[in-house]
Symmetry: C2
Subunit: 462 residues, 2 copies
């Protein structure tokens, strides 16, 4: 059902597509690589361009300095729910340049077997996505003379370089950035026909452990037998972190891990996720992990414990019969629901300490401890957005999880106190962070129309 | 009991000590570093010096070319058992030179709190040791006009650079090098007062295993849960290689592992080995390894399985949440008695294969497979040599084991078919392979006298 006020906005988007593409191309030509200081003035130029573009649709936009690259903030008043829209204007570096088929900052529209695409650095991540929202607002403003909601635009220029200025900036501007709901456009479709609202993001707890035994590396002929070998101690600890059912054995680990609601389980089953293809693409055939859980459930809604790196002793070519004085592993936990990262860290450390044999010690080096982000989907805005997306795309939208962590949603929750709807139109083959990045023209076009629909429904709802 | 023919030889050794030292000093001044091609002519010069020195005591000595540095072979006829004496004239490099307190090739006699020492590269390893035997023969010849046994001298010039020419040379000269017993002087005392005959050398089996899972490194957010992690698989395999009693679980591993004879056990107990000090020196306090076995027993006469190196995933600074496509470990087994390295390799590989979960494969890379060397101490020559040593030194000699491998003894057994008596007078603080190498004057002096006693008893015995 398309409302009377929405239909002309969608028509306007269709009619204005070429001009919208021209605007995106202009933004893509600015090489706003945030990690390389040589491109600082280009980041600044991209921020200036966005300020001007927002101003052109009546937004009160300004560039805000930070110790790094500037933020762009824009405000526009309106009726209804106060929304905050987030995107980032900085892009990844382009190395290795010789793998690009054309200048990464000379974008063009190309025909491909899977449809037309916009080729160029930042086309998908995140300038193209960011502009879907701006263009939806432009069309609405052109048709109706004003926007249907109060909107705060918030564009960052350091997302690809670890967002060093983000948290301090949020803390200093909590009042200005206050809103009722955040819209984040930096994710992807579930598949080419199926849009999604990401509502569950796994948290991440990292620990490096260093097991120490003898004071120095020993010769395994001289000491092999009576001397404690830290590699063997470490292997024993790692082997003990899971039981035979693939469950993590750290005491209390599953406290706060919810079971899926029947509703969500049904949505996920409808997605027709092809676990065989997912695993087959990387040379695997059988889901490892917890017995009795589907691959999709494990990635989106179950916690994990994994070893991301291990080293000890002689690791070069050939062989040295050394008994090393230490061995180390990087271990990470993906967290869901209400799992408490700090409680799990403490329990993990105690478990490791308790397993140490005589003459061994352990050092722990923490690497991050962020809880899962779980959005309150009982807010009717989520279901409304899901319905709006379902009307635009060939297949119905779903509330999905994300196996990885997207820190921005956690910051908005913790610092600003607002939930986020993560909605994006990227595709698996967009080559973000790689040479020859592209964004599908279909994603750009339907993305603009999707935001118009969402603005309509969220504004109508109040 | 000193025999009538031995006493004047010992007196002659005492009287000739200064001249013997002068000769050793001359040999030590030749920088015969075998690993560095720049010193090839010096290795040649050391070989020439030895040929001349052997000739001066009536030995028919020649320098023999090899693809590397030459061998020196000398023959002298005599009554009694045919002995072959092995030593090496090449020395370790001297880096780092700035840690030496004087020119490594300008040796001198120094007074130290632990007695007089000969300071210089090669003084202990192995020129000083080699010359103890030559000087014993010189004294015997001077007193009696001939030697008491048929002796083949065999000096190598590549021991410190992996002995690349040794095995081919032995194979080409099996007839010429045939003897009834080999004497190898390249080992140490048990302690400063206690000499030893090394009769058991552990063998060594090395295997590198590579566990492979997914085709490529994966992101642990995207795949953590259903994807198989090769580090965890490898850790599980390593943890399963030992049982709770510290015994190796590879099927058939203990086949051919003998229990100590009561006689040898008593000798070892008499040595008063200080396990607390041995472990304490390297920061350990409690013997790990097999339950119910002493530290000395474990090092000398029990087999082991150790992990010498492990690597997988991200091992640099910081943290990357990667699920690696592979993980690898270098695993070695020290072998004793009649353990069959090839049978153990096969059983180990089968055990690892059997433990692999779905979607994992393993590659094995062999690194050496040498059985233990166990001398036939029921040959009365061994007990006779032990008694002879016991008469020279403050405390009785023992048949001991060596936790490490000394390949030369295995080559003599395999290629020439003869057992070896490993007798040497090095001390733990000789700094072999390090700056400021020394040899105790006491070791040099008693070493010469020890060989005279051993020649006397071995020649008398037949």
């Amino acid at each position: 059902m398309t409302s009377a006020r929405l239909a002309p906005v969608l028509d306007r988007i269709d009619a204005d597509l070429d001009a919208a593409l021209d605007r995106l191309m202009t933004l893509l030509r600015i090489p706003s690589i945030s990690t390389d200081p040589a491109f600082a003035d280009k980041c600044d130029a991209a921020a200036d361009w966005l300020v001007d573009d927002l101003a052109s649709i009546g937004v009160d936009a300004t560039k805000r300095p930070t110790p790094g690259h500037p933020m762009v903030i824009g405000h526009v008043d309106g009726p209804g729910r106060h929304l905050m829209f987030y995107g980032h204007y900085d892009v990844q570096p382009v190395d290795p340049l010789d793998l690009w088929h054309r200048d990464p900052f000379d974008p063009e529209i190309q025909d491909t077997p899977k449809g037309r695409v916009i080729r160029g650095r930042g086309s998908s991540d995140d300038k193209g996505q960011l502009m879907t929202f701006v263009e939806a607002c432009r069309a609405w403003k052109a048709v109706h003379g004003s926007l249907p909601a109060k909107i705060t635009f918030f564009f960052e220029g350091e997302e690809e370089s670890g967002s060093p200025s983000l948290v301090p900036f949020l803390k200093e501007h909590t009042d200005e950035l206050a809103a009722e709901l955040a819209l984040i456009c930096d994710t992807g479709l579930f598949d080419e026909e199926t849009p999604a609202v990401t509502t569950m993001l796994r948290g991440l707890l990292g620990e490096e452990i260093v097991i120490r035994g003898p004071d120095m590396d020993l010769h395994s002929g001289m000491y092999g037998g009576p001397a404690r070998n830290p590699i063997r101690v470490l292997a024993g600890i790692i082997a003990a972190l899971h039981d035979d059912e693939g469950r993590v054995t750290v005491p209390g680990f599953y406290d706060g891990v919810p079971e899926l609601s029947n509703e969500l389980r049904a949505q996920w089953e409808d997605l027709g996720f092809d676990a065989d293809a997912f695993l087959g693409d990387v040379g695997l055939s059988v889901p490892a992990g917890e017995a009795g859980r589907s691959a999709l459930e494990m990635i989106w809604s179950r916690p994990t414990c994994e070893v991301n790196g291990i080293t000890g002793g002689y690791t070069g070519d050939g062989f040295k019969t050394v008994l090393p004085s230490e061995a180390r592993a990087k271990i990470s936990f993906r967290l869901v629901g209400q799992q408490d990262p700090l409680a799990i860290r403490e329990s993990f450390r105690k478990m490791v300490q308790d397993m140490l044999p005589a003459d061994c010690s352990v050092d722990f080096h923490p690497h991050g401890a962020s809880p899962a982000s779980v959005m309150s989907t009982d807010d009717p805005a989520f279901e409304a957005a899901r319905q709006a997306l379902s009307e635009e795309w060939p297949r119905p939208a779903a509330f999905i999880g994300s196996g990885g962590s997207i820190p921005i949603a956690g910051y908005f929750k913790d610092i600003l106190g607002i939930d986020s709807m993560l909605i994006g139109f990227g595709r698996e083959d967009d080559l973000i962070h790689s040479p020859n990045e592209k964004y599908s023209l279909d994603s750009f076009h339907r993305g603009m129309r999707s935001w118009a629909r969402i603005l309509d429904t969220l504004a109508a709802e109040d």
